[in-house]
């Protein structure tokens, strides 16, 4: 990143504020954070909705049809798939496991999807499947960190924080980076949306689906909105006395933040309240006002994007199918199929799909080999191990080709056979779509210019619309 911009955004904020004049600190800061166009080049997308399916879904049951694998179901896997390989759970030479689900072609593009994703089939011409992904890690928490921060250990910012740092927010009353979670928090914890070494201003803020939508948003019992207004007025009256005496622009910022906090007490509940959405919209997503669900989070993601929030991340837990893959995938797929399809349709009809990039996938994929005893083809309790080579991520909207697939795995779905894509490449491409050059979006820390993509990453030009 341009050192001048880093300087603006971080430690020397005060020096910048000086030139804007003391006393209007907050507004000056806000203008830095929003007004100035800060992309490196013309962006194709302005927002990202990143759906992380925690635990890593099986690409072989959802996206990557492998007839040969089905044919050879139950046979011992070829040596190269096991010998000398590090696997998380499989310890004995495993057999191949073909999917039991059918795949169908959809739309004008003829994009092939599993029968478990019928609704997404309906918007197949909007989808871009990258089917040859690899990552560096096959344990959940390190792989999740790697996917989000480009590094398998703690301490670095996640992609949402990088985007917030690079582009700022378009909405003064809401955070630039919002997180929703269904189920438990992913293994790597809150660090997935933490800001690492970036200023904490850029960390993701969790909007919770039960209790208060944002921690500490609600007034204590017995304190009304009117009471709160009086208290905020009191705080800011006294803060203004200090500002007049002490002259520190930080105080001006503090005053503005109390006003913003007060506005958030209205704007966030208003955002979370979907009761004014039309019946048709609720029917589209399969949501009910006030009922928490993954679908509801999809609807909220659209509401946030409408309000200019830069990066929305949805985590959905329950995709780690070491066993029962053929019974669990239908359950989980059903929870996401309709709402994600709805999100795509809804954004499209509102003219927002072009400027909103949707990303969906897990931290790695699953093995074409069966994990456990060789009862392939028989029992229902069969599953797949973690797999870091040859998985699929789904993209839509925001400047990517629709009805398109990129890359392919070999006939057994084990490794990329064509156009391999590393997670760093995907991250570079996401930044590119937002108008950010992944090699220039840097932050100097410990004497080094850090990047989301470390020292790797190539934009996947051929998926750009």
């Amino acid at each position: 990143m341009n050192p001048l911009r880093q300087y603006y955004l971080t430690e020397t904020r005060r020096e910048f504020l000086k030139s804007a004049g003391a006393g209007i600190g907050a507004m000056a800061l806000a203008s830095v954070l929003k007004g100035e166009p800060r992309a490196h080049f013309k962006p194709r997308a302005k927002h990202v909705i990143y759906i992380h399916l925690v635990g890593a879904p099986s690409q072989l049951e959802l996206f990557d049809a492998k007839p040969e694998l089905v044919k050879r179901n139950g046979q011992k896997c070829p040596d190269h798939m096991f010998k000398g390989k590090q696997l998380a759970f499989i310890r004995e030479h495993p057999v191949l496991l073909g999917t039991r689900f059918k795949f169908q072609k959809h739309g004008q593009s003829g994009l092939e999807l599993s029968e478990q994703l019928p609704q997404l089939g309906g918007v197949a011409d909007e989808l871009c499947l990258v089917k040859s992904l690899t990552t560096d890690h096959f344990n959940h928490a390190p792989a999740q960190l790697f996917q989000h921060t480009g590094f398998e250990r703690f301490g670095r910012p996640g992609i949402g924080s990088w985007v917030s740092y690079g582009l700022g927010s378009e909405n003064r009353d809401l955070p630039g980076y919002v997180v929703f979670i269904t189920g438990n928090v992913a293994g790597a914890g809150n660090s997935l949306w933490g800001s690492g070494f970036l200023p904490t201003l850029h960390q993701g803020i969790e909007f919770r689906s039960s209790g208060e939508p944002v921690l500490f948003l609600s007034n204590p019992k017995g304190v009304s909105g009117k009471d709160r207004r009086e208290i905020v007025d009191g705080i800011n009256f006294l803060n203004r006395q200090s500002l007049a005496d002490v002259g520190d622009p930080e105080i001006a910022t503090r005053i503005a933040q109390y006003e913003l906090a007060f506005r958030m007490q209205t704007s966030v509940p208003e955002l979370m309240d979907t009761s004014k959405e039309s019946k048709a919209t609720h029917a589209l997503y399969g949501t009910q006002p006030g009922k928490a669900s993954f679908a509801n989070n999809c609807l909220l993601a659209r509401r946030l994007v409408e309000r200019g929030v830069r990066f929305v991340q949805l985590f959905d837990q329950g995709w780690d199918h070491h066993s029962g893959v053929f019974t669990n995938i239908p359950k989980k797929a059903k929870q996401i199929d309709q709402p994600v399809a709805a999100l795509i349709k809804d954004l499209k009809q509102r003219g927002l799909l072009d400027e909103t990039l949707i990303v969906l996938g897990g931290e790695f994929g699953r093995t074409p080999m069966l994990q456990g005893k060789s009862n392939a083809g028989a029992g229902n309790n069969v599953g797949r191990d973690h797999h870091k080579e040859g998985f699929t991520m789904m993209l839509a909207g925001g400047g990517v080709k629709g009805g398109f697939e990129f890359g392919a795995t070999d006939e057994l779905g084990y490794q990329p056979a064509r156009d391999p894509v590393h997670l760093h490449d995907l991250n570079a491409t996401i930044l590119h779509l937002l108008g950010l050059n992944h090699e220039q979006l840097t932050y100097k820390y410990q004497g080094r210019d850090f990047r989301l993509t470390d020292v790797a990453g190539h934009v996947i030009d051929r998926i750009l619309a």
Binding site: E15, A88, N139, V185, A188, F216, L238, N239, V246, Y445
Partner: protein, 717 residues
């Protein structure tokens, strides 16, 4: 591309000795200054620079403000109104020095200064990653607090943390100190590879050692020669070799792919009475177990067991089910066995409660591990073997030092090390003055920002080493300086001339750290418990924050006793979800070494201070304190409240405003007692004493909530 590589090559080729930070600091002569402003050497350097920049120092801060500032800097808590009154009566230089000396002896000094050290040490109470289960190493945290309080020389402080276990006749405390490097994260999710974990932990130890003691980023050299600083990849692994002799830190559970965090721990010393009791119980336990064993043996030789039992007994391996059948048979047939076994269970329970707690420590394997350069930094790709060596660009490793962690520790704090003293005094300076003399506190390498006051930095570094590496001595020098005592007022002229205050023409004005924001508010409210040491505490936070994927997730059970109100340094630190209000005030996840926390100013901070249950109960307790400690009219009460919160009297406009709001609210709550009771009744952590006027208390709650939210309240100025 060619140009870039040429530039890199040029940097690498440049004689590294020329970079200032790699030359041993020499004590510079004090600049000659014709002024009576300086109070000590620091001021002479600062004033010389100010004059060169055509700047003037600010006038001295008001006594109350100075008193509050020095309390926050040294012990992290505000002065009590009584201490304030006494100082305001006699704000002499002597009285100030007495206060400084007293604060340096206060046990809360160690607690306040432990916080930044624990950020460097990436101390936390959990493993991090999937499951993120809790681990016990709080004895190390207490060791840091005690070491600071005792005034342990910093060189010894370093040696004990890096290699306390290797010191001759190492004491328990010296072994506990090695917890410093048992803090790295550890992934125990099913299917991990233990060697990868171990490798990552050693990497973390090398990198953290580089950052904390050398101000140098070593991690680049994990994969390739460092581009800017004189660390070759081979040298990285030579440093790695010093740390490579520790055992694995995950343990396989059974034969599967399930793992647990593991590694050397030690039992903490316990008092003699407890030890004696435990010894007695252990003896009883031995006896009871012997008896059970003998009984079982007898029973196993039962002459005519039932058929099914006989069949099982004939087998050499028993299944779980078979074992259960045997147990059942024995117990029904021989009630005496059951009685004896119950006794064992009861004893085990008693022993468990008396058993000494444990803490994580470092330990060497008997057989040293071979260290290799790892190609591309990968634990799977060993290259050439290397021996334990320190980087050649830095001072030499003496012949008489052992080639182990102890030798490395000696090397780190050797008087010839050009970095450790500079890096250390610079961090303390920044913590107090708001900005490092080297602004890039984490990096003193060639990419660092040059020091604003190189001579002052060197003078402090040499002074530190020559004064027996005394942290308290340096802290006292800083807070006794005229530079420190200046007003923090930001005038338009100062803002125009030096907005970042690089040249210290005024004192720093800094928002407190997350922990200090809470400690300070607890002290103001009168709720603070000063109990020291021990296992982590669980003050109030909203429910459902600890809900992570993974087995046996620990529960956050909010304390209802004094642990609710103890200092932030004791709050449980779960890496996957640190204490919520701390996160809002820029606390890190402690997954990795943090030198400098950001200081942001956000609406979430406002929401936290206004609405977090913890701060709401502090506000009500503060209201109660005002009513309990001042019996006079509203003006006197407001005076007391301002002094408690801000160490100053209200300005006339403030007094007028607060009084009018207070009276208005009081009148309102007198009429609406239900509203008052609702506010008061919903607070869990503080109960109003009987006889307190509910209307007045509720009105004061409003004022207290306002005062605890002021920018000035959460700012050291």
């Amino acid at each position: 591309m060619v140009m870039v590589w040429a530039a890199v090559a040029a940097i690498n080729a440049a004689p590294t000795a020329q970079h200032w930070a790699y030359q041993k600091p020499q004590r510079p002569a004090l600049p000659h200054i014709d002024s009576n402003w300086p109070r000590n050497a620091i001021d002479q350097f600062v004033l010389a620079k100010l004059r060169a920049k055509k700047l003037q120092p600010s006038p001295e801060a008001r006594p109350g403000q100075l008193l509050r500032r020095v309390h926050l800097d040294l012990i992290g808590l505000p002065p009590s109104p009584a201490v304030l009154e006494a100082f305001l009566k006699n704000p002499s230089a002597k009285a100030y020095e007495k206060i400084v000396d007293r604060l340096l002896k206060n046990p809360q000094y160690g607690e306040r200064w432990a916080r930044p050290w624990l950020d460097l040490a990436r101390y936390a109470d959990s493993n991090g990653y999937q499951a993120d289960q809790l681990r016990d190493s709080w004895a190390y945290r207490d060791w840091v607090i005690d070491a600071f309080n005792k005034g342990m020389p910093f060189n010894q402080f370093v040696i004990e943390q890096i290699a306390g276990d290797l010191l001759p006749k190492a004491t328990a405390a010296q072994r506990i100190a090695t917890g410093f490097h048992r803090t790295p994260t550890c992934n125990v999710e099913a299917g991990v590879h233990p060697e990868e974990n171990r490798f990552n932990q050693v990497v973390d130890r090398v990198n953290t050692t580089g950052t904390v003691f050398l101000g140098t980023t070593l991690e680049c050299a994990q994969c390739h020669d460092h581009k800017y600083d004189p660390i070759a990849m081979k040298e990285y692994y030579s440093l790695f070799a010093f740390f490579n002799n520790t055992p694995l830190e995950v343990k396989q559970l059974g034969k599967g792919v399930t793992w647990d965090f593991y590694g050397p721990t030690m039992e903490l010393p316990i008092d003699a009475a407890r030890a004696a009791k435990l010894k007695k119980l252990n003896a009883q336990m031995d006896a009871a177990q012997t008896k059970v064993k003998a009984l079982r043996k007898d029973l196993a030789e039962e002459p005519n067991p039932p058929k099914n039992i006989a069949a099982i007994l004939r087998k050499s391996n028993w299944s779980k089910k078979e074992k259960a059948t045997l147990e059942k048979h024995f117990k029904i047939k021989y009630p005496i066995l059951k009685k004896e076994e119950l006794k064992v269970l009861a004893l085990a329970k008693q022993i468990n409660t008396l058993k000494p707690p444990t803490t994580l420590v470092m330990m060497e394997r008997e057989k040293p591990r071979k260290t290799h350069v790892m190609r591309r930094g990968s634990y799977l790709s060993p290259g050439n073997a290397v021996a334990s060596e320190t980087p050649t660009a830095l001072h030499p490793f003496k012949k008489n030092w052992p080639r182990n962690r102890l030798g490395l520790a000696n090397w780190l704090v050797d008087a010839d090390n050009p970095l450790v003293a500079r890096v250390t005094v610079n961090r303390w300076w920044a913590e107090i003055m708001g900005r490092g003399l080297v602004a890039t506190q984490e990096d003193f390498g060639k990419q660092s920002k040059p020091p604003t006051h190189p001579k002052l930095l060197d003078w402090l570094a040499v002074e530190f080493m020559e004064r027996d590496w005394s942290m308290k001595h340096i802290h006292k020098l800083i807070v006794m300086s005229a530079t420190y005592r200046q007003s923090s007022r930001v005038t338009p002229a100062l803002l125009a001339a030096d907005a970042a205050n690089k040249f210290y023409a005024r004192a720093a004005r800094l928002r407190m750290s997350a922990e200090m924001v809470r400690d300070n508010a607890l002290a103001i409210s009168g709720l603070l418990s000063t109990k020291m040491h021990g296992p982590p505490i669980y003050p109030p936070q909203p429910g459902n924050i600890w809900r992570h994927v993974g087995r046996n997730g620990p529960k956050f059970n909010v304390a209802t006793d004094e642990n609710r109100f103890r200092r932030g340094v004791y709050v449980v630190w779960r890496r996957g979800a640190p204490y919520a209000s701390f996160v809002n005030f820029d606390a890190p996840d402690r997954g990795t070494c943090v030198v400098q926390r950001p200081r942001t100013n956000t609406p979430l901070q406002a929401l936290t201070l206004m609405n977090d249950e913890a701060y709401v109960e502090m506000a009500l307790a503060f209201a109660g304190r005002v009513l309990a400690e001042t019996k006079a009219g509203p003006e006197a009460k407001i005076e007391f409240a301002f002094k408690a919160a801000l160490s100053r009297s209200p300005r006339p406009a403030e007094l007028k405003f607060v009084k009018s709001l207070l009276l208005k609210r009081h009148a309102y709550f007198e009429k609406n007692t239900k509203a008052a009771t609702e506010i008061i009744g919903n607070v869990k952590g503080w109960k109003a004493p009987k006889g307190l006027d509910t209307g007045e208390l509720a009105a004061w709650f409003f004022i207290a909530n306002i005062l605890l939210n002021l920018d000035e309240t959460i700012t050291k100025q």
